[in-house]
């Protein structure tokens, strides 16, 4: 007992020293600031930014924040298609926002044919930096002979598997002023990102017969379900809907559904229901406002994510984040390469800019994130929109409008 009395003050001093470390202090402050944030429904922009906030800094793995000389270091992978031109827009915008971000650019070969060496370098960079902003890694031509390239892994999926990015989070929220058929949509799509149909385990059984394996594991289902409910708590959402096809795929989707139900029991404050995927798609076109957080396996998440993105305005305004336990990769919500739009000043940069705002939030730069989001929304509200949103501006014009706003409204 006497030894304990001696040691106790040491332990107290140690803990006090720990709490003064910058990362711990930052984490404490960001959580406390979130809990006191108020929502004002009058101002539309405020409403958009504060109500049911996007998952932010709390998701970050503490140990992987790369910050040198006060600047966060973020891997940037332009990829192919419209990726390079949109990444240039992002750099310009973040410069105007005076965000403390340095980009480590990782180029891939022309036409996005990623060599193993390039893939290794990309993975290493993201593991080192912990955060990345990414375009589409490879874009397969329309007339590709898919069977002949069957053995090779799909590069984007391979990257997600190597980095352990088990969750894909996509925020689909109605933007005021955009010509959409539905209003007041605010859906958070949480999708399992690594297993299920995307395992690429296929073979020719005999000539003319192909078997494709969909593998579902309890561990991954539990991981994504826990993640979904934790995210629901952090973003103050009330309801989680699991989407499945367990009436037909009784074992695989049945396992997913059982695990989701089990995990739901540990969170009695959050309402939980489940829906079959085809009924879900029908409900999305008639009454999308009924959905809050949606929890899905890989393929259905792809489908429903795209539907939800289409309902709020399309590929140009959706942002997504791939989340792992040690790193996060941000990208356009809808993974299109946009080959047809390349180099023609047609691409809509808003999706990638909103993704970069999510990235800033994840890095803990909430104020910068907010300013970038406000700039994008101001441009959209002001009518400066690209063709896919019913406007007539080009990429450069939209970028100029956003940069101008940021320069005029510097913090």
């Amino acid at each position: 007992p006497s030894l304990m009395h001696l040691l106790l003050p040491v332990r107290h001093r140690f803990l006090a020293a720990l709490s003064s470390l910058p990362w711990r202090r930052h984490l404490c402050s960001s959580i406390s600031s979130r809990s006191t944030a108020t929502t004002t429904a009058d101002d539309d922009l405020e409403h958009w930014l504060e109500h049911a906030p996007a998952p932010g800094a709390e998701l970050r793995g503490i140990l992987t924040a790369a910050k040198y000389g006060g600047q966060h270091r973020v891997s940037m992978i332009p990829g192919s298609g419209i990726g390079p031109e949109l990444m240039a827009v992002v750099k310009q915008t973040l410069l105007a926002a005076r965000a403390h971000v340095d980009f480590e650019e990782l180029q891939t070969s022309a036409e996005g044919a990623v060599t193993p060496e390039e893939m290794r370098r990309i993975v290493m960079s993201i593991q080192r930096n912990g955060v990345a902003l990414k375009g589409n890694l490879e874009s397969l031509e329309a007339s590709t002979d898919f069977i002949s390239i069957g053995g090779a892994a799909a590069k984007n999926a391979q990257l997600r598997a190597k980095l352990g990015l088990f969750a894909y989070v996509q925020r689909c929220k109605s933007i005021e002023g955009l010509p959409t058929r539905h209003r007041d949509i605010d859906i958070l799509v949480v999708r399992q990102n690594t297993e299920g149909e995307y395992n690429q385990l296929e073979h020719f059984n005999v000539d003319g017969v192909v078997e494709s394996l969909k593998v579902v594991t309890e561990a991954r289902c539990r991981q994504i379900a826990e993640f979904a409910f934790q995210t629901a708590i952090k973003t103050r959402r009330k309801k989680v809907t699991a989407v499945h096809k367990a009436n037909i795929m009784k074992l695989s989707d049945g396992l997913f559904l059982d695990v989701c139900r089990q995990v739901a029991q540990s969170y009695p404050d959050i309402e939980f229901n489940d829906m079959i995927v085809d009924n879900c798609c029908m409900q999305l076109t008639s009454r999308p406002q009924q959905f809050d957080l949606m929890l899905l396996p890989n393929l259905y998440g792809n489908i429903v994510g795209n539907i939800a993105a289409g309902l709020v305005g399309g590929a140009g305004v959706a942002s997504g984040m791939n989340v792992g336990s040690r790193c996060a990769v941000f990208e356009c919500g809808v993974r299109v390469s946009g080959q047809a739009m390349r180099g023609r000043d047609l691409a809509n940069p808003c999706g990638l800019l909103l993704a970069s705002a999510d990235m800033l939030e994840y890095l803990g730069e909430a104020a910068d994130a907010r300013r970038v989001r406000m700039a994008v929304l101001a441009a959209l509200a002001g009518g400066v929109r690209t063709r896919d949103l019913g406007g007539s501006a080009g990429t450069n014009e939209v970028t100029a409008a956003i940069v101008d706003w940021l320069q005029q409204n510097s913090a």
Partner: protein, 368 residues
Amino acid sequence: QPSYKMPSHQLLLQLMKRPSQLLQASRGLSAAAAGGTRTVTLIPGDGIGPEISNSVKKIFAAAKVPIAWDEVDVTPVKGPDGQFRIPQKAIDSVNKHGIGLKGPLATPVGKGHRSLNLALRKEFNLYANVRPCRSLEGYPTPYKNVDLVTIRENTEGEYSGIEHIIVDGVVQSIKLITETASRRVAKFAFEFALREGRRKVTAVHKANIMRLSDGLFLKCCREEAHKHPGVEFAEAYLDTVCLNMVQDPTQFDVLVMPNLYGDILSDLCAGLVGGLGVTPSGNIGESGAIFESVHGTAPDIAGKDLANPTALLLSGVMMLRHMQLGEFADRIEKACLDSIGDGRARTKDLGGGATCSQFTDTICSRVA
């Protein structure tokens, strides 16, 4: 060579057995129908099934369609080996007539029953599910001027039902794609497009991820496209189609795809035009075709004269077109759509106040 004259129904069976001549056979049959009455199997189904089947019979009679109905019940019965099966009478009926119209079937609860829809599909080898989605004038939804058809491979793919538990906590589900089935549905899609005067067939796939399976499906579609140069062909990724479908569905014409994608997309498109209550559906097979309504049995309104027969009626219209009785099909369809357009005549689920019988009578008076 047999020296007796073959009875006409056996002649029909012989004709039906040659799938490549199915189109010619139906043309031959319509020549027979010009003189006489064609018999069609009717499966009323459960719940609201009997009422809406009666509505359809009444409307067809009012339009003087040369069709006789052979009503059968497909509730499974226990066979001599203890297995539940569709009654032989029903199987014989559909085999004999080659065409069926089916109402909603209740999903059997309990052991020993397979899904009836699945059993019917396997029995008659119904390989293509055709669902036209057209905006109803008079029942507006946020989506205007939709006019597309989804053609879905109906026998294999993700719904093969082959699943295993590898070890505790790891499950594997097998998606099976064969060249035969893919080629068959692709061929049907192009022939359908040519017959119905459609411009373009789009193959929907995810071959960037599922390279061998969807790649094989796509290869068959491309080959059939070469053989049918009169129809434009395009390919699109499933996620892109979903994204574009909810923004601008008018850009799509005929869509052909494997089983799972077809299931989801056809329900998505049905939602665009008003839901399953107004969507017709046809299952085409090598030895027959069954047209059906795809909504549920609605046990809560069964027997109360509240049901909406539109889905079954429009499926009947699809059936008439398949049987080359297009003139009758057009008349009945017009009567039905006009009645829906007249706000007072609609049933409750479409926002009107009419009962099922009133709605039926309105259509009968329009079509006579």
